[in-house]
């Protein structure tokens, strides 16, 4: 190990080589298929545990909100779903970019399989948002800035999925939808800003602070637990869908025939 002067970080080359080898191997569909297969059970059980803890904490343990009573408990699925819908879109655009530039097939697979999960999160956010709006604002749908942005995000997802399925050739479809995702990800902040600007222009800023000036700890913990649970759930189902997609794309190769007929 080289002597490390203060302030200079020498990452031993063995680690970078092993890291690079890992990513390189990850690009090979078969290795990805097997690795994903091993990970899915672990991630699955992790999700179940986190969900149980989060739901218990959020629905049973957390105190009622001084303003809204128990109606606020919807945030434990509304807020994580909103965060996840945005996170998945950015991840999808990133995977698409990698697939587009370095032509790594697995990146295209990940990008394609992200979309339906992200869309379901966006849809969940909208449903819970409107159900939460009824007790709070009196109507199921109010053109609130965040809800409108979420609705537009759902349209972006649907546009992505529609384009991906409209083009027959699998590789062209992946590359075309990657470009769309990149254009979309550039537009998301613009749309978000313009909708906020439009909202404040017409209705003035709605003062809504989550559970009073500062959210109390026993509300925050379940929220973080649920957010982690959503993230883990997303990766689990992403790997499950990705494995199927890999099987379909590599249908001609021998290892797929072997794994398919062995069961």
């Amino acid at each position: 190990m080289k002597r490390v002067q203060r302030g200079e970080v020498a990452i031993p080359t063995s680690i970078t080589r092993r890291l690079w080898a890992f990513f390189h191997r990850l690009a090979s569909p078969r290795y990805f298929y097997e690795l994903a297969g091993k990970l899915v059970p672990w991630l699955g059980w992790g999700t179940v545990l986190l969900l149980a803890a989060g739901l218990y904490g959020g629905l049973w343990f957390a105190p009622a909100d001084y303003q809204q009573g128990d109606a606020y408990r919807i945030i434990f699925i509304h807020v994580p779903a909103a965060w996840m819908s945005l996170f998945v879109y950015v991840l999808m655009a990133g995977a698409g970019f990698i697939g587009l530039v370095w032509r790594i097939k697995i990146a295209d697979v990940v990008a394609k399989t992200c979309a339906p999960i992200g869309a379901s999160f966006a849809f969940l956010t909208l449903c819970t948002g409107s159900l939460w709006g009824k007790p709070m604002w009196g109507t199921y749908w109010v053109w609130d800035a965040r809800l409108t942005s979420e609705l537009i995000l759902l349209f972006l997802y649907l546009g992505y999925i529609a384009l991906e399925s409209a083009i027959e050739d699998r590789r062209t479809a992946a590359r075309a939808s990657s470009v769309l995702a990149l254009v979309g990800v550039v537009n998301i902040p613009i749309i978000h800003y313009s909708v906020d600007w439009w909202h404040t222009l017409h209705q003035g800023p709605t003062v809504f602070k989550l559970g009073g000036p500062s959210i109390s700890l026993d509300m925050l913990v379940p929220l973080l637990l649920m957010t982690l649970a959503f993230k883990l759930f997303f990766f689990t189902m992403l790997l499950v869908r990705a494995r199927t997609e890999v099987l379909e794309r590599e249908a001609n190769s021998a290892w797929v025939r072997e794994t398919v007929t062995s069961q």
């Binding site: 409209a166 075309a176 313009s194």
Partner: protein, 227 residues
């Protein structure tokens, strides 16, 4: 001079497209008629009272302009894709983004500019106050190129798809929303006598962004759709 450089080629594309549009007038006229018809439908639906129409005028004119612009997007690449001259553009030594910009400019001249000219006429039919006319023209002048530029990316992505029209609107409309918001609010602010520099400046910023990035995006999308 060994042949024309990139600008010469872009000029040639612009001239050719304008010639094609003028020889095939229906592609130009239909979106304009659509624009007029949509605006005239609103009073029939909402009622002829001046008070209601006056409030809705900016939004209606802008939504109709946006839909008319989107309707005419197919004309940018569709005919070139069908007869194979799009491939000649892609394999020409000139930068594809510049040629795409020329095509979008030709399309805007033919479809966006008439919307700018027709806007005030239709605004007046919806009792839009005269002081807002200037802002309406300016906002359409800034907005319609953005619609053509962003639409070009959508058309480039769906050019290979049969019956890509509905898919195109699903891809492009969410991206049109900021333009609609800033355009319509500029006109309604003008109608209410409020300062309009804010939304117009934001429209200008969107136009600058679209002018620089959209041709590159559309060129990349074209190469992908043709492969």
């Amino acid at each position: 001079m060994s042949g024309t450089g990139p600008l010469g080629a872009a000029g040639a594309v612009l001239r050719r497209d304008l010639t094609l549009f003028f020889r095939h007038r229906s592609d130009i006229i239909n979106p304009l008629l659509f624009f007029i018809i949509v605006v005239t439908l609103v009073p029939l639906g909402v009622g002829p009272e001046e008070s209601t129409l006056r409030v809705m005028a900016p939004g209606v004119v802008w939504v109709a302009a946006l839909l008319a612009a989107m309707l005419s997007l197919e004309g940018i690449f569709r005919s070139d894709f069908d007869d194979g001259s799009l491939e000649q553009l892609v394999i020409s030594p000139q930068p594809l983004a510049l040629l795409v910009l020329a095509k979008v400019f030709a399309h805007w001249l033919v479809s966006g500019l008439p919307l700018v000219v027709l806007g005030p006429v239709l605004g007046a039919s919806l009792f839009l106050p005269d002081r807002a006319m200037g802002t309406l023209v300016l906002s359409l002048l800034l907005g319609t190129p953005i619609l053509s530029l962003i639409g070009a990316i959508g058309v480039a992505l769906t050019v290979g798809v049969q019956r890509g029209g509905v898919l195109l609107s699903l891809l492009v409309l969410p991206l049109y929303i900021p333009v609609l918001i800033f355009g319509a609010s500029a006109v309604s602010s003008a109608a209410a006598g409020l300062p309009v520099i804010g939304p117009l400046a934001l429209l200008g910023a969107l136009l600058a962004l679209a002018l620089t990035l959209a041709p590159l995006g559309a060129a990349a999308a074209l190469r992908i759709s043709l492969s």
